[in-house]
């Protein structure tokens, strides 16, 4: 079993090598990086060559590509996800949901539906987001027991997503304009980049260090440090698969290093470029889930 898995992963990474410029991951929920829309054409057409660029621009491009790979794979996508949430005492909770996503523009706005199926107390609850880079996200929640569609305020993006160790920002991406980046090191297969928040008051960390896979541009590990340079939180990619030619994180974990509690997230049945119509990202789908796209 272990041999088979490892082989699959190696194969996936090899295949994704030639595709890193245009292809990216469905909602990997691992990187915390964004990019400005205006840079997108440059990213797609200009190979990165650090020796020929200023370092800043090179770092920016790495970050943009990571962001693209993590959050903007294909034009749209669907996936089943589950989370296991393990607290410091080893108590477990589970969340299972299906996600539909459509990009308005690569590295720009996105729209998304999250249909919860487990546990039973959240079954049929639906979360809808319109992610907007230029303003607060729009969010709605459908509560089936009350037949209520409630518009909810955007809120702090560094709060727990459905009670897990993943923050909203981990799920939807952290705006890169909020951080300064510097390239720490580079080896044959990875870049290591340190990011410092421009507004330290806005976040719970002092800085974070992200390791990005050169071949598929996916951030494979991110560690957050406090003001005493102590590691407090860590995101780790546990498994990457190639799906429709797109390197996709299908398993990852976020650990609270203060008490070793963690959440692990898995994806399955990941699909890209389904041609999801704009019209399904609406209140109607919250009450009446679009079955055709959820199988």
């Amino acid at each position: 079993m272990s041999i088979k898995l490892s082989y699959k992963m190696i194969k996936a990474i090899k295949h994704s090598h030639s595709l890193w410029l245009t292809l990216s991951l469905f909602l990997a929920c691992q990187s915390h990086l964004h990019a400005e829309e205006s840079t997108i054409s440059a990213i797609k057409t200009t190979p990165i060559n650090i020796t020929n660029k200023t370092e800043n621009l090179a770092v920016k491009n790495i970050i943009d590509r990571a962001n693209l790979a993590s959050y903007y794979a294909g034009e749209d996508g669907s996936a089943e996800a589950r989370m296991i949430i393990v607290d410091e005492n080893g108590n477990r909770q589970m969340r299972q949901f299906t996600i539909l996503r459509k990009d308005v523009q690569d590295l720009g706005d996105q729209t998304m539906l999250v249909f919860f199926s487990k546990p039973s107390n959240v079954k049929d609850t639906v979360f809808r987001v319109e992610k907007q880079l230029q303003s607060d996200d729009n969010r709605w929640l459908f509560l089936p027991a009350l037949d209520l569609v409630k518009r909810i305020s955007a809120g702090d993006k560094r709060t727990s997503f459905v009670g897990s160790h993943f923050y909203y920002e981990d799920v939807s991406g952290r705006n890169p304009n909020e951080d300064n980046f510097s390239l720490d090191s580079e080896d044959g297969s990875t870049y290591t980049i340190t990011a410092s928040p421009k507004d330290p008051q806005s976040v719970e960390f002092n800085h974070y260090v992200v390791t990005i896979d050169k071949q598929n541009s996916l951030p494979i590990e991110t560690t957050y440090y406090d003001h005493n340079d102590r590691a407090i939180r860590k995101m780790t990619v546990l498994q990457v698969q190639e799906i429709d030619g797109i390197a996709t994180v299908v398993k990852s974990r976020i650990t609270n290093l203060n008490n070793n509690s963690y959440t692990e997230m898995q994806f399955r049945n990941v699909k890209y470029n389904l041609g999801l119509p704009d019209s399904i990202f609406s209140e109607r789908s919250m009450r009446t889930p679009p079955k055709a796209w959820l199988d």
Binding site: M1, S2, I3, L5, S6, M9, R82, I84, I85, V86, D87, G90, N91, R92, Q93, M94, K118, P119, S120, N121, K123, D136, N138, A145, L146, D147, R151, I152, S153, A154, G155, D156, R158, T159, S160, V162, G163, S164, T211, I220, E221, K234, T236, V237, L238, Q239, V240, K251, R253, T255, N260, Y262, E264, Q266, R268, E283, R284, R287, T288, K291
Partner: protein
């Protein structure tokens, strides 16, 4: 074995991973989901009055409840059943309640239909209802049952029509469904007829109404603003009218409550504003059996206005405030024709609400406070609660319903002696 290989790719993150093995790879092998799904819960709840009450009961809530939710999903339709059965110790009887028994389908690309017993909600208020005249269960709300039970089911046909960004909803309820209002069987209330707080053990006589009611909503989004128009044709959801019982030709001192006709139209808007959500709603209540407001036995028409704002104050702490106005339409006529003018609600009944909601322990522990205060009625209602989701199965809750007021006849003041505290444990499956 599995996690060893995963950890190779995962930069040797191995701490605390051992008990994770069973999560590694088996998910993909799950059999296809069955079209049938059965979920539900078992719950025990107890509530206690915190003072003597004319109802002469000490318990406000005492029940063991079993819920079964059955869903069947077909390519062409969905069927849902939500069945409650519970022993209610306060009423000393076993009750079966169908909260939902419905069929949903989309016969055309532009229409969704849901027919059968169902819970219906719309409007923008938080615990305040203007254009939402679907049935509510105030007894559940005031006794500390879960919020879900504030909405009572009705047998209705709902059709939702869609054209581009516009949706039109039409709900037909063939048989008028009233609120489960305060009637004395659980909570005491003020009777204007006898001018005191009463709690008739078997409720009070209310004329049944089998006529139909209609509700409609037209909704769209203009830029970031959601706007809606509403209409309602039916009856007051609580028995706001009194008329002589028996044959009208006889002079009788016997009176009976009933549900007078009511037509409502209204509008609402919701929009993001300064990091929060702003909402406004208006409804015009036309009490058509008393158009001039001269009949003391039938509720007057009202203008209802709501303005609300919700935003996150700090991480995991959300606050929302509402201002609500209930303006009596023909106040002078009401006053002139009232037998007890000094007990009448003010022409403008103002109400302020504040909700504070704090989530701790990764959202498993929530503290909530909802406060109503009316400066015009000089009364209020506090609804604090704590919920602890111990794991995916067990939910423990406790809270209180605290009513206060200067006068026995005001909206919340009459409920003062119904102040209660409750706790519940729920096992979800």
């Amino acid at each position: 074995m599995i996690f060893v290989s995963l950890n190779v790719s995962a930069n040797s993150e191995s701490a605390n991973n051992a008990n994770n093995d069973n999560w590694a790879d088996e998910w993909a092998d799950e059999p296809p989901a069955s079209p049938w799904q059965v979920t539900g819960f078992i719950e025990a709840a107890h509530g206690q009055f915190l003072q003597a009450n004319v109802s002469q009961k000490s318990t406000s809530l005492s029940e063991v409840r079993a819920r079964v939710n059955i869903d069947y999903s077909h390519e062409l339709f969905d069927a849902t059943g939500k069945l409650d059965s519970y022993y209610d110790h306060v009423l000393a009887k076993t009750i079966f309640q169908t909260r939902e028994l419905s069929l949903s389908a989309s016969p055309f690309s532009f229409v969704d239909i849901k027919a059968g017993r169902q819970v219906l909600t719309w409007g923008t208020g938080d615990y305040l209802f203007l254009n939402d005249l679907f049935a509510k269960d105030w007894q559940s709300f005031f006794s500390g049952r879960a919020d879900e039970y504030l909405k009572a089911p009705s047998n209705s046909v709902r059709t939702n029509w869609f054209y581009k960004a516009v949706s039109f909803s039409l709900v037909w309820t063939p048989e008028f469904t009233s609120d489960n209002y305060i009637n004395g069987e659980r909570f005491s209330f003020y009777s204007p007829q006898v001018q005191q707080i009463i709690a008739p053990a078997n409720g009070f006589s209310v004329e049944k109404n089998h006529k139909s009611q209609w509700s409609a909503r037209l909704k769209t989004q203009l830029n970031n603003v959601e706007v809606a128009l509403y209409g309602y044709q039916g009856y007051w959801p609580t028995p706001q009218g009194t008329k002589p019982s028996g044959l009208s030709s006889q002079v009788s001192s016997q009176y009976q409550s009933y549900f007078p006709k009511l037509n409502v139209w209204g509008v609402s808007a919701t929009a993001p504003f300064k990091g929060g959500i702003f909402n406004a709603e208006y409804a015009s209540y036309n009490s058509t059996e008393d158009n001039q407001g001269t009949n003391d036995m039938i509720a007057n028409g009202q203008h209802r206005l709501l303005i609300g704002y919700e935003r996150e104050l700090a991480k995991n702490l959300t606050a929302s405030m509402q201002y609500y106005l209930e303006r009596t339409k023909h106040y002078q006529a009401l006053k002139a024709n009232s037998q007890t003018p000094d007990q009448r609600v003010a022409e403008n009944r103002h109400l302020l609400t504040l909700r504070l909601h704090y989530r701790a322990l990764r959202q498993t522990l929530t503290y909530s406070m909802f406060a109503f205060y009316s400066p015009s009625d000089k009364d209020g209602y506090l609804k604090p609660s704590i919920n602890y989701q111990y794991n995916d199965q067990w939910l423990f809750s406790t809270g209180a319903n605290v009513f206060f007021g200067r006068n026995d006849f005001s909206f919340f003041g009459q409920l003062e002696n119904n102040t209660n505290a409750w706790l519940s444990a729920r096992y979800q499956y």
